[in-house]
Subunit: 340 residues, 2 copies
Amino acid sequence: MPETTHAQSTQIQLASRPEGWPTAENFRTVTVDLPDLAEGQVRVANEFVSVDPYMRGRMSAAKSYVAPFELGEVMTGGAVGRVVASRAASLPEGTLVLHQLGWRDVAQADADAFRAVPELPDAPSSLYLGILGMTGLTAYVGLTEIAPVQPGETVFISGAAGAVGTAAGQIARLLGAARVVGSAGSAEKVALLTDKYGFDAALNYKDAPVREQLPALVPGGVDVFFDNVGGDHLEAAIDVMNDHGRLALCGAISQYNAQQAPQGPDNLVSFIKSSLSMRGFTLGNHLDKAGEYNQRMSQWFADGEIRYDETVVDGIENAVDAFLGLMRGANTGKMVVRTA
Amino acid sequence: MPETTHAQSTQIQLASRPEGWPTAENFRTVTVDLPDLAEGQVRVANEFVSVDPYMRGRMSAAKSYVAPFELGEVMTGGAVGRVVASRAASLPEGTLVLHQLGWRDVAQADADAFRAVPELPDAPSSLYLGILGMTGLTAYVGLTEIAPVQPGETVFISGAAGAVGTAAGQIARLLGAARVVGSAGSAEKVALLTDKYGFDAALNYKDAPVREQLPALVPGGVDVFFDNVGGDHLEAAIDVMNDHGRLALCGAISQYNAQQAPQGPDNLVSFIKSSLSMRGFTLGNHLDKAGEYNQRMSQWFADGEIRYDETVVDGIENAVDAFLGLMRGANTGKMVVRTA
């Protein structure tokens, strides 16, 4: 049995199901003693834990992308850390690993709950939760499988300053899009999209209705819409879709905390008139694209083509604040909690 | 120059664009003298003229499936008739032909405006406007290309007692659907669906909200939704779609005459949760399937697998009444105007 400096784990549990916006009262922080490592197990000191919009859905008992979180269980989700103790030959001490054990500073489980990361030079480990991980893969699947972008086309991305949005904007361009337009919720984010991420234009959805602002930014119409927001953004996009346009519904953050059913778009007849197609997706059904994505993104990253932002919150005890901030749009790029 | 008995043509023109529901005042009936046949032309005495829901869209100036009808022009659309005079060797007198010259009793034009019909035994000529023609092809394209049905699946069809709906119900079954459910607007139509057309269950959308009635009829959920209605039907269908469900939007007759933008479905988040896909279509983009369809449908028809209804209105001067009746759901199966 190896010596370790981590005999405890601080964890965030779901204490009650939120109605509407989640609050700190829906969560509970506990510190537990870890048992000795069993044969085949490893102990991982997390470096970063991911907070993501999809987690809101799992907090409700209703059907979501995946099964709801259980009350009293630790909030699961992506995390990256290093093996600090090992009784599994496949994952020796020092290995950087990804896992889904979520909101805790130390994770301990059978080795098959962890996956060793092929580390890229100059990549902070948090990126494996973002552009080099599930977040980037989500954007890639949306723009290749769900709503494939063709060279020369115009792409509109809602929630474009978020983690998936910034990845999607860059990937759309790398896939050959001629014009990439995004929406975000502040002047600073709008400037970031055009100045740093190469968007041709961007709008601040808090300035005026999206439906009023969008047409001027896409004079040739939109061929592919990548939606992270839903609601008014979806309706505005349908207005300007070109014939045979494709809509990928990745998220609907505008609606996750709604307590009343939202009004849907009033222009669905355009689907018939313009031969539009719309597909919702969750990454779990498309993990077979991970190998292809890792290969392409590794090359893009090595070529210096990739920009990213992270909003880092320190301390696992602040994971709830990070998540609530994410729901309010307080992040730019990927929101992560630093646990090291 | 051959002798003919048709030197005149009675035609229905679009006189003004309807706001909301069309009325007789939006149309004008005129009788014109036909010029002598030029070389390469044929004169066709129509037997049946088609009235179809999509024509409502073309009466407005706004973008629709195809270009709007021009004011003062004859209402174009599908028609079937026989060549009564010919100066084109390809279409001798007596040939049964299909064309798009629409609401008139006699059509005269270059031969390439007409297409000879390979007549099936025991098929009244009106069927080439319906189950053996564009109407049937529309249903087939929807269930094979747009929202493909897999054997064993459950299919829900809105507006199921209409021309496309009755075709879709039968084609779904012939493609292997295990359960076919439809909606219609009267008890008589509901009975017809289950008694004549082989639907497993049907609902009368005037009895209670579709959203309340549908779940009990599809205990295993819906895999494919073929929509002719839109609005409340689309919303109700989304509620019960199975994972990876497919929605084909063929029509939205509930909304064609709306003067205010309708409220859209409140449950689009299900597209993400359940990986749904929805595609609108118009037949014009899928005419390449006509050969395959004609082959399969000819066999089904010869095998006695195909039922149909027609609502026949006599006299080209009553085409407007027929169209207005169609908009109100006065038809069962294909609505045609007999001009012979």
